[in-house]
Amino acid sequence: MLRYIIRRLGLIIVTLAVISLAIFAIVEILPGDVAKMMLKQNATEESLDRLREQLGLYRPWYERYFDWVWGVLRGDWGTSYVTGIPISEILGRRVVHSLALALFALVFGIPLAVLAGIWAGIRPDRLADRIMSMVGMVGISMPEFVTGVIFMLVLASKFELLPPTSMMLPGETPWTRPQILVLPALTLTVVLFAYIMRMTRASVIEVMQSAYVRTATLKGIPMHQVVRRHVLPNAMLPTITIIAANMGYMLGGLIIVENVFAYPGLGQMLLFSIQQRDFPLLESLVLLIAGTYAISNLLADLSYAALDPRIRVS
């Protein structure tokens, strides 16, 4: 087991190295010049030259790359080109905000989707199943900025139940004002609902048709016990994969949701860094998000092992 974890961690390091190299290469070929972006129409050749020199843009890319990697390894993420603020300072609070949102969705939104999937899977093709499948399809078909704006209009503007934006004043955090998490988390849940619900439903249906469930039912065990003791542990495995695969998305990929609600998380910072051509910031963000993907996948595999003894053996 320990060897397995060590091997996986080694793989993650290789993955991150490849990703960091890739993002550096993409940034190199991305159109747009950070110096021109910073100086706008006022740029003169001399001022552009001076700025590029100052940012070290004339040094070969591999030199800049290894400098950056070396810095990251020592915990120094560098300084944002555009704002001159240390990146660790910018990202520190953003990570906390993103974690809060992901946790909120994990605790409230995802169990809802899982329960709906179980309910639909136990009684497939009934009215409840049809309704839930349809809700899921609608949710997955609508872009997040549409669902988000609809929630904002209905729940915040029309009925005034929730704040329409997730802005935080000095001294406020997601923990002291959890209501600001509701709308972004709800929008996010709608997106994930269909994935998770359908995956859960499919595996519940499959398990329900297995021989051991039939045996348990014929033995006369009450239905709720069959579901709890036999169906759930077996049906949850694929669902966990889905949830793990979405952890990275929930932490850093919420570009649209975070922008619609002005939620100050990592996704909003990602868009900001692209628009401002703030490459050190962009590179650090991508690395951070890729790391989250890798680690949450590792955690998913480990929880497989915990749920299913057969995986532990092989």
């Binding site: 997040e144 990929g253 909003q268």
Partner: protein, 551 residues
């Protein structure tokens, strides 16, 4: 599954980026140099200003009339409270001489002061300079500085700070140095008097000094620090700044203007999406939206608790025709395009009727130097047709107009023009170029382009585009008379002289048609009904010095 998620996500990102491009780009672009279209205080009394309380005449010099410090009836004003302003989230840096992003500009406007303040109604008020005078030919300017003013780090404001600020502008190549002539000498006569000397007449000097690049910085601080800190004499002191989230300010207790500001605290809340800004204002989470998205205007006008404030700005949209390339080398073609341009339709269609009609020159109709005698013809497809026939195109002409969503409503204007040109026999092809690169590969390169400009005072507005050697001479139009008039304008100190010089320039560019300026753009603010005293400014920014909350 993971792969699918990425692809699916990226398509959403593209759509979102496209949708929000306009809003975001407003922020990116309105950051270029903006300025005034206003009466300037020179050796004559500006028509709107009252005469001076202090006429400190230097022997042999003309005294400048200085408006008195504004005395406002403050009896009904409620003090205190916290003002929350929602705005775009761009941020680059705070150094006044280099500031370009809109939120950064309004930050320094409320934490620093200029020497002379241009009010929302275009009159001038003394700020850090209590009064000023100039010699006969406007080549020497003397400013008498306010005493007892302190920067937020404790240093007293003195003549050395003015000299330091102006030196710094030239050292860092501030965009303002394009309009501000370099002084040949700067003399601190004493701690509270500074004299700027130029090698020739410099009547438009104050037009530069009222701009946001001219905020006075302290001379005892390493100016590199000013990129991340604000150390000024302004009405507010910044207490906290979180990139992309908020900036917080408290009222400066030592502010020189008595009783101002009225609120105790102010926060800028950075809300990148225009829907979020409008929704937050309607819900009362914020008190004000700065730089209102056009799409939000109708809903805020209809909401019972919110109001839209608007003022015309000197910023405008125009068409540039490169006069050295066919068919625009033929003046008759340019005049045909002029007659076929339906300005009213552009004002309604591209700007919701806000702002105002422009007449092919950059002087706003409220400016005393506006010349009402010269105007381009009203929209007339028949006239355009006959001009085209005279130019050798009896069967009409095909033109290609290059445009982009890179700011203002240029694409909307182009679309309206297609319809407006059709009855005149002009068949317009529209090419929408990507925002990235439009200013590098479209503007100044393609023969027929849409452009938008920030407002500038008359001298600068003409000199940056119409003088033969101007870097931004977007139509490559060279005219000896225009160059001569621009030179004369530098010494035109009295309003009468200015009316004559700028009046002739206006007629000249209407007649020669190097560019077609269609509409002036509006400046808009969205406010809650209980927010009093907020003012959209002439340079497309806002002033909250005198905002108070009626609650």
């Amino acid at each position: 599954m993971k792969i699918r998620r990425f692809r699916w996500l990226s398509s959403r990102v593209t759509v979102f980026l496209t949708l929000s491009a306009l809003a975001l780009f407003v922020g990116a672009c309105s950051s270029d140099p903006t300025a005034t279209q206003a009466p300037q205080a020179t050796s004559t009394v500006a028509p709107t200003a009252t005469s001076a309380p202090t006429n400190t005449a230097v022997p042999g010099a003309t005294a400048t009339a200085v408006p008195p410090a504004p005395t406002v009836d403050t009896s009904g004003i409620k003090r205190g409270g916290t003002l929350k302003i929602g705005m775009l989230s761009d941020h680059i840096g705070f150094e006044p001489g280099l500031v370009t992003a809109l939120p950064d500009i309004v930050t320094i406007q409320h934490t620093y002061d200029v020497l002379v303040f241009r009010n929302p109604d275009l009159t001038l008020s003394p700020a850090l300079a209590e009064s000023w005078e100039t010699n006969e030919d406007a080549s020497q300017w003397t400013f008498n500085l306010r005493k007892g003013v302190k920067f937020s780090h404790g240093k007293e404001f003195k003549a050395e700070d003015v000299i330091f600020t102006i030196n710094r502008m030239f050292e860092i190549d501030s965009p303002i140095t394009g309009a501000l002539s370099k002084p040949t000498a700067m003399v601190a006569v004493d701690d509270y008097t500074v004299r700027l000397e130029f090698d020739g007449p410099n009547a438009p000097l104050l037009d530069s000094l009222v701009k946001y690049h001219s905020h006075i910085i302290p001379s005892d601080v390493d100016p590199e620090r000013l990129n991340t800190e604000t150390i000024g004499t302004g009405p507010f002191v910044m207490t906290d700044f979180v990139v992309g989230e908020r900036a917080s300010f408290k009222a400066n207790p030592n502010y020189w203007m008595e009783g101002v500001p009225y609120v105790d605290e102010m926060h800028y809340i950075f809300l990148p999406s225009p829907e979020a800004r409008a929704a937050a204002l309607k819900a009362g989470l914020i008190d004000m939206i700065y730089d209102l998205d056009a799409s939000s205007i109708p809903t805020l006008q209809d909401h019972p608790d919110t109001t839209v404030l608007q003022a015309p700005s000197g910023g405008y949209m125009n068409l540039a025709m490169i006069v050295t390339e066919p068919p625009f080398d033929n003046k008759l073609v340019r005049k045909a395009v002029q007659a076929a341009t339906d300005r009213q339709a552009i004002l309604q269609g591209a700007q919701f009727g806000l702002g105002g009609i422009a007449y092919d020159h950059p002087v706003v109709p409220t400016d005393p130097r506006f010349n009402a005698d010269c105007k381009p013809p009203d929209y007339s497809p028949e006239l355009a047709k006959s001009l085209l026939a005279e130019a050798g195109y009896p069967n009409g002409i095909d033109l290609t107009l290059y445009t982009s969503t890179a700011g203002a409503s240029m694409v909307e204007m182009a679309t309206i023009l297609k319809e407006s040109f059709r009855p005149a026999g002009i068949n317009l092809d529209i090419v929408v170029m990507p925002e990235d690169g439009y200013w590098a590969e479209g503007w100044l390169v393609k023969p027929f382009t849409t452009v938008w400009w920030g407002g500038r005072p008359p001298y600068e507005a003409f000199s940056v585009v119409y003088s033969s050697d101007a870097a931004w001479n977007e139509s490559f139009w060279k005219n000896d008379r225009a160059d001569a008039l621009l030179k004369e304008a530098l010494g035109a100190a009295s309003l009468e002289d200015q009316k004559r010089v700028y009046g002739e320039l206006q007629c000249l560019v209407i007649e020669e048609v190097p560019r077609i300026i269609t509409v002036f753009r509006p400046v808009t603010l969205g406010v809650r009904n209980d927010v009093m005293g907020a003012a959209p400014m002439w340079d497309a920014t806002m002033s909250v010095h005198k905002v108070w909350l009626d609650r």
